[in-house]
Point group: C2
Amino acid sequence: MTTTTPLAIDALRGRYAAAQRLQLDLDMTRGKPCPEQLDLAAGLLDGLGRDDYRAADGTDCRNYGLVDGLPEAKRFFADVLEVAPAEVIVGDNASLSLMYDVLSEAMHRGVPGSVRPWGREPAVRVLCPSPGYDRHFALCEHLGAEPVPVALDAAGPDLEEVSRLAADDPSIKAIFCVPRYSNPTGITYGADAVRQLARMKTAAPDFRVIWDNAYAVHHLYSDHEPLLPILAECRAAGHPDRPLLFTSTSKITLAGAGISAIAGSDGNLAWFRQSRGRRTIGPDKIAQLRHLRFLPDRAALDAHMRRHAAILRPKFEAVGEILERELGGTGLASWSAPRGGYFISLDVPEGCAARVVARAKAAGVKLTAAGATFPHGRDPRDRNIRIAPSFPPLAELRQATEILALSVLLVAAER
Amino acid sequence: MTTTTPLAIDALRGRYAAAQRLQLDLDMTRGKPCPEQLDLAAGLLDGLGRDDYRAADGTDCRNYGLVDGLPEAKRFFADVLEVAPAEVIVGDNASLSLMYDVLSEAMHRGVPGSVRPWGREPAVRVLCPSPGYDRHFALCEHLGAEPVPVALDAAGPDLEEVSRLAADDPSIKAIFCVPRYSNPTGITYGADAVRQLARMKTAAPDFRVIWDNAYAVHHLYSDHEPLLPILAECRAAGHPDRPLLFTSTSKITLAGAGISAIAGSDGNLAWFRQSRGRRTIGPDKIAQLRHLRFLPDRAALDAHMRRHAAILRPKFEAVGEILERELGGTGLASWSAPRGGYFISLDVPEGCAARVVARAKAAGVKLTAAGATFPHGRDPRDRNIRIAPSFPPLAELRQATEILALSVLLVAAER
C-alpha cells in the first residue's frame, strides 16, 4: 500500500475540487443498454406486417392460448440454455418476473419434492453468492426468504461453504446463481463448481438451483469459457428437479420489451404450468413472433451479439485502462476484467466503499449504492463497488471512471 | 312446461341423428375474439417505425424502467375505468395476471388494513357471484382461498346475502365482480348494488372488491346502462381502500397481445408497487406505445369498439333468434339477451345442463363444461350453460345453436 504525503493529498483535493467545478451529472448505477445498443434492435420496431401473425404451426398469435409459448420460441431459448425445447416455457418481458413467480409459488405450495409449502417452514434461507445481484436479494426478502451471503470466487461460489450449509441446514432451500459473467464480478462458473452444485447432498429434499443465465450469450470477445449445462449435470447426478434455468432477451433486443424463458425438468415445468395456467390464458405471442422474425436462427443471434460487443468492449476496456492508470500499483484497489456481461466489480480498501461512492456522487458521478451487491445492502467489508459501463457514452464513462478513481485515492489518502 | 309425445321424441331423435351425420366440429367453449375482430387491430402489427420509441415525456420506451407504465397509458386506462391517472398502474398482457398477483401478495403479506397475511388466517373465503367466470374461481382455489358462490341477479349480486356474509364472517376477504356485461349472464350492476358494495359493513377490516371491468367499453348497442364508478363510491362511503379495479385491452385489440391495468387508492397502489418493483424493472412500454399510437384518444377507442359491435351484434342476435325459435314458449329454457360483453347465459331445466352439453358434444358442438360457471365446477342446480358466440363464423354459430337447442329439447323430452 502506498503512503500518501500531505503534498499528495493536497494535489488530490485540488483535482477533486476541479472535478466538482465541472458540475457533471453522470450515471453508472444500473446495467442499462445504451441507445446505440437499443438501435441494434430497430428491426423489432418495424412492423410484422398485417398478415404475419401465424406461428409455424398455424397458430394465430393474436388470439388467446399457448401457455408454454410458441414452439419456435421454445426452440430459440432451448438453444440459448442448452436444454430441449420441451424443457422450456416462454414468458413475457423480464425473467426476473419468472424467478419471482417461482419463489412466490414455492412459498404458497412448495415445489416438487417439498414436504410442505415453503411458507409453512419455520424458515426459508436462500444462498446468495456475493457480491451478487441486488434484485435477487430484494426478491427473497420481499417474499420472506432470508438471503444468506456466501463467498463468490473466481470460478464460482465457495462450494465448500455452499455444500456444508446445504448439507447441514434443511432451511437452506435454494441458491441464486448468475453462472456466466456473474453480476457484478463477471466470473463464469467452472466445471467443478457446476458439478458440485449438481451433485452435492442437501438437507432439504426440495433444494433448487436458481440458474439466472442472464448473460448466456453476452460475450465481449470471440473466445469464451465453456459453461457446463446445469440441467444435464443435475440429471446425471440423479437430481433432475434441482435446477431452474432462466434467461431473457432483455439485453439482447430491448431491455424494456423483451421475452423471457424458464427451463427445467418435466416435473418442474408441470408444476410451473399449474400456476401459469391460473395466472394467464397465454403469454404475448406477438412479441415472441416479432423476436423470431428479427432473430430467426442462432447465426442471427450470434451476429447480433457481436454487434453489442463492438459497442460494449471499448467501454469496458476504457474503464480498465483508467483504473489501471490511476490505481494500478497503488495496492489500493483491485477490479475485474470481465470477458462478457454488464459489470465491472471494483474492490477498494476495507471500510471505504461507502465513502468512495459518496465522494463520487458529490463530484457528479452516481454509482450503485455501496453494499448493494450484498444481501440486505450490507457489504461486511464495505469495499465492493459495482461499475456499470454500458449506458454512458464513452467520453462520459471515461470522465466518470476518472472521478471514481480519484475518489478512491482521496478517500484512501484521508483515512 | 310442455309435454312431449312419443311421436315428438321420435322426431327430435331423427333430427339429432341427422345432425350427427353431419360430423360437425364446432367450438363455442371460450370467449375468444374471431379473426375478423383481430383484423380490426391490424394497425398494431404495423411497425411503430424505427424512430418512434419515445413517450410524450421523452422516456425511451425501449429501455428499463417505469414500473407504473407510461403516463399516457395511465391516462388511457384512467379514462376507461373512470379514475384519475395517478390511480392506475399499467401491466402487460392479461389483467388476470394482475388479479392473480394481487391475491398472491395478499396471501403472502396481506393488504393495507390487514392484521396478518391472508395466508396466515385460519381460512380465506372469496365471494363469487355465480354464474360467474371460471378463471376467477380457479385462481382462488389455486391460491388457497375458498370461492363461495352467491347468487347473481339481474342488477348485481344478491346484496342481502353478500352483506350478511361479509358482515358476519371475518374470513370473507373479498368479492369478485364483473360489473359490466357480467360473464356469463351479461348483466350490469345497478346503482344500488354498487352503492351497497361500497357502503356495507364487513367483518374483515381488509375486505376487497375485485372489480374486473373486463368489458368496460364492450357495448353491442349505442345505448348502454350507466355503471357507477366504484372507487368514487367507496371513497364517499369512507372505504377508499376497498376496491381494486382491473381491465385490459385483450378484447379491444389483441386477445393474446394486449396491455392491462390495475387501479385503486393511493394506499393500494403503493402496496402493489412494492411487489411490482420486486418482480420487474418495468412493464413492456413498447407494447403500451403501440397501443397508444393505435388508439390515441377516447374517440378512436369508441370508434374501434363500434367496429367490434358490428361484428358481434349479428352473432349475439342470431343465437337469440334461434333460441327463441326453437325454445321460445316451451318453458324449458331461459337465456340472457346481453347488451354487451362476450357471453349468453342459458338456463335449461334443473338437472339437465350436463346432459345437454354431452348431447351437443356428441353431435359435434363443443360447449363450456356444464358447471364451469360455478365455483368448483359444480352448478348446484345443473342448469346453467355458457354460450360464447364471438369466435365461430355466423353460419357455424347458427348451426351450433340449433344443435344446442335440439339437445335441450331432446334431453328434456327424455327425462
